[in-house]
Symmetry: C2
Subunit: 225 residues, 2 copies
């Protein structure tokens, strides 16, 4: 019920953990913005605590509605820990896009244009077989839309070797910086160039596997835009 | 002495925290490889523990020899925590490059080509003024080589508002995946395309700030290669 009500709202609630500690960068709680940032990166950085110390690992992920999924071998550390933890493993999942280098007249005002999302939550191992299968499809679709229906589906042996974690999107914030550099009035006359160098992540032309039969064409969903 | 000896070695020592828990991806401890991965990304993901829960924040960073630096407002949370923590704040610093989408014949073997470095360590606030200034220069140079000597240097007021954390590179590992997809013998005849879609992060043409005087040229170190 609480979750259904949250879904009906346009923004994530602000909590002690998601309110900004300083105003320099803009915090945003809009669901549409958060989803767009989450849906357009390849990897997240998954943080958890082991023996009192933080661990941050890059990993593939996918979003389905208000839930994130990550997966891994049943033998990998965070997956094992989440499976054993009751009631789940506290995690922080962070996704970041770098959009530009902000070049200011003063060293101090150099910065980065970026979009990031930080999710505070609890990871649970997915035990429902249908949800596990749907999550694995979503993980393929997240990186390569159109692919999950165009490959050999996961089989029972592979499913048994794969653990899937879910993290509900409840305590979530986006942060972003856009636009040009800050140039204080007293810096304006300085003879240094200032502006933004755009940064983007792009896909190149697909490279077939060595052993691929030459009569199998590159699927449309992989062709460079 | 211990540190000097470590410096003389070509590889970081393997510890309980840096040894791999599974063999699917290659772990590497070579200093040259670790440095090259650290030196070519724009942001790291800094993990720390707050009230028993993990927090992962993206942030600019720089490497100087066997030490990483991150910086921020003296009011920002991890900076305050590291300043107050004795003997320092346990952190995990992770840097990840995405190099390609690995498209396999089976959903299970889909993967990512990537290079990552995970640093387990302790963050200390830098209190030495010379080291603080050198670290701030390094932070500008890291993202934009050549820039730190071509802008207005940090002044006393800015220095007082900026906290710099250092993390020594002692417990460090790289992980990477390269090459084409895994195609099991029984998958080879399947009619699906397989291969790699390269992914790269590129810089675009510099965009001058609106208020920039038109007679200031783009410096050579910013020109797209």
């Amino acid at each position: 019920m609480e979750f259904a009500m949250a879904l009906a709202q346009d923004a994530y609630p602000v909590t002690d953990r998601t309110k900004p500690t300083r105003g320099r960068d803009r915090a945003d709680y809009d669901r549409t913005l958060v989803h767009s940032i989450l849906d357009s990166a390849y990897v997240c950085h998954l943080g958890f605590v082991r023996d009192g110390a933080p661990v941050v690992l890059p990993t593939l992920y996918a979003r389905v509605d208000e839930r994130l999924y990550v997966h891994g071998s049943t033998g990998s550390r965070p997956l094992r820990m989440a499976g054993q933890a009751d009631p789940g493993l506290p995690v922080c999942v962070t996704v970041t896009h770098v959009d530009g280098l902000v070049i200011a007249k003063s060293a101090f005002h150099h910065s980065l244009n970026y979009r990031s999302v930080v999710v505070h939550g609890t990871a649970h191992q997915v035990t429902d077989r249908e949800e596990q299968l749907a999550a694995l499809d979503a993980l393929v679709e997240h990186a390569i839309p159109g692919r999950s229906a165009d490959c050999r589906p996961v089989n029972a042996k592979e499913l048994a070797a794969t653990a899937v974690l879910s993290v509900d999107l409840r305590e979530v914030s986006a942060k972003l910086r856009t636009g040009g550099p800050t140039i204080d009035p007293d810096e304006a006359p300085l003879p240094y160039w200032a502006g933004v160098v755009p940064v983007q992540q792009t896909q190149g032309a697909p490279i077939p596997a060595d052993e691929l039969a030459s009569d199998i064409p590159v699927p449309d969903y992989l062709a460079a835009p």
